[in-house]
């Protein structure tokens, strides 16, 4: 059983990237799911809007932290926790 936040994150990813929800496993790479760089920008925007957080994402970062869905979820959850702790 995953947390409501994880479910919402995956809902947003599925909707923005038009990927079937059941395909979204946490160890899946975004590239394997055919999620393009522009999809990622839209996903980040939607996640920031929904959770009222800021994600440190730069499309030029050469050590991308957005390789797998699990990394995206972890980053979002960290930012939510940081916001709640502030």
């Amino acid at each position: 059983m995953t947390s409501p936040n994880v479910e919402k994150i995956l809902d947003i990813v599925a909707a923005k990237a038009m990927v079937p929800r059941e395909n979204l496993k946490l160890d899946a790479k975004l590239t394997e799911l055919n999620i393009s760089s522009l999809d990622v920008v839209e996903i980040v925007f939607a996640l920031e809007d929904h959770f009222k957080i800021e994600l440190p994402f730069n499309a030029n970062a050469q050590n991308a932290e957005f390789e797998t869905l699990g990394q995206v979820v972890a980053l979002v959850e960290n930012q939510i926790a940081a916001k709640n702790a502030a």
Partner: protein, 404 residues
Amino acid sequence: MHRVVVTGVGVASPLGCSIAEFTEKLFAGHCAIGPVTFTRPTGSITYRGAQVENFDASQHVDARKLSLMDRFSHLAVAAARQAWAQANIQPTPEFQQQCAVILGTGVGGQITMEEAYDRMWGNPTASRVHPLSVPRLMANANTSQVSMDLGLQGPGFTIASACASSTHAIGTAYHMVRSGMVRAAMTGGSEATLTLGCLKGWEALRVMSPDFCRPFSKGRQGMVLGEGAGCLMLERMDDATARGAKILAEMIGFGQSCDARDITTPDQGGMMRALQNALHDAGVEPTQVVHINAHGTGTRANDTTESAALKDVFGDHLHGMKTTANKSLFGHALGAAGALEMVATVLSLHHQRVPPTLHFVEPDPDCALVPITTTTETLPQGAIAIKNSFAFGGLNAVLVVRGC
């Protein structure tokens, strides 16, 4: 077919608003990138950008016409006047009717547009916008204002192809003069989009560098927005020679292509076809080209893809070529970038020097080239150079030019 030469250049740029100042700072490696701050009721916001600082439009534009223009037209008129003055043509009525004005811009009067939005959405009681909003913001205003300012009555239009706009404009003007359609052309482009709305838009795309623009360098973090205008006077070599004009360079080729693939991701194949088309148009072999003025935005995607396309076309010869990326000095002026960088390319050939690429840290294994970073590199007399521009939307343009 006519041979076509450049007899005048002009700039309104973050490196200065005269060719003398631009030339000095270009070859010295002056960085014009710094903070751009906006004040809002909720506090100030600062971005990184390259501004045309201390630009006094009244020094370049007739007082009665100042309020008719957005900044992108002020900059264009300032640059065109310099190019026109340097060419020193004494125009006859026939010449005026046979001289084209072909400029580029990415978006037109962005400042005017945002002022109107601010007035309408920021003030609940506002019921109207500035009466000159439409003639200021229309994308063709830069071409129209330059044509009126200089009295040039031949074909005139503005080309919009994002970051390749003014390169497409210069190439189109070159082909029009070469074919005999027109006798001469004032060409180039202008852009003034260092606005809060525009910077917010680029920020949302997540491609902005937090500090500097580092083309082809490992660790680069993206682009830095600039602004400005560049103009070139193109005319038939026979005309220029007959009146004893100083010839700065000869235009020899123009190539274009569409990627037809993705709205933002660059395509190696599309870039390669534009490069090959340009060399074919110029009738030169890859090994004859010695200098590259790259598109070099400092983004991961562009620099990796551009260097791979250059390697496809030039092969091992690429490693002996002298490549520079001007955006590290004066940012990315979008629709004016090609014009400012083409002026820089003409000056490089004319002065036989290569401007340095700034902020380079170390070679990137994913990039097939290492740019020139010193201020001491020279070019031989009569060298051949290319100027690349590869736009969002997959629209590619490459110019080929030879020193004289």
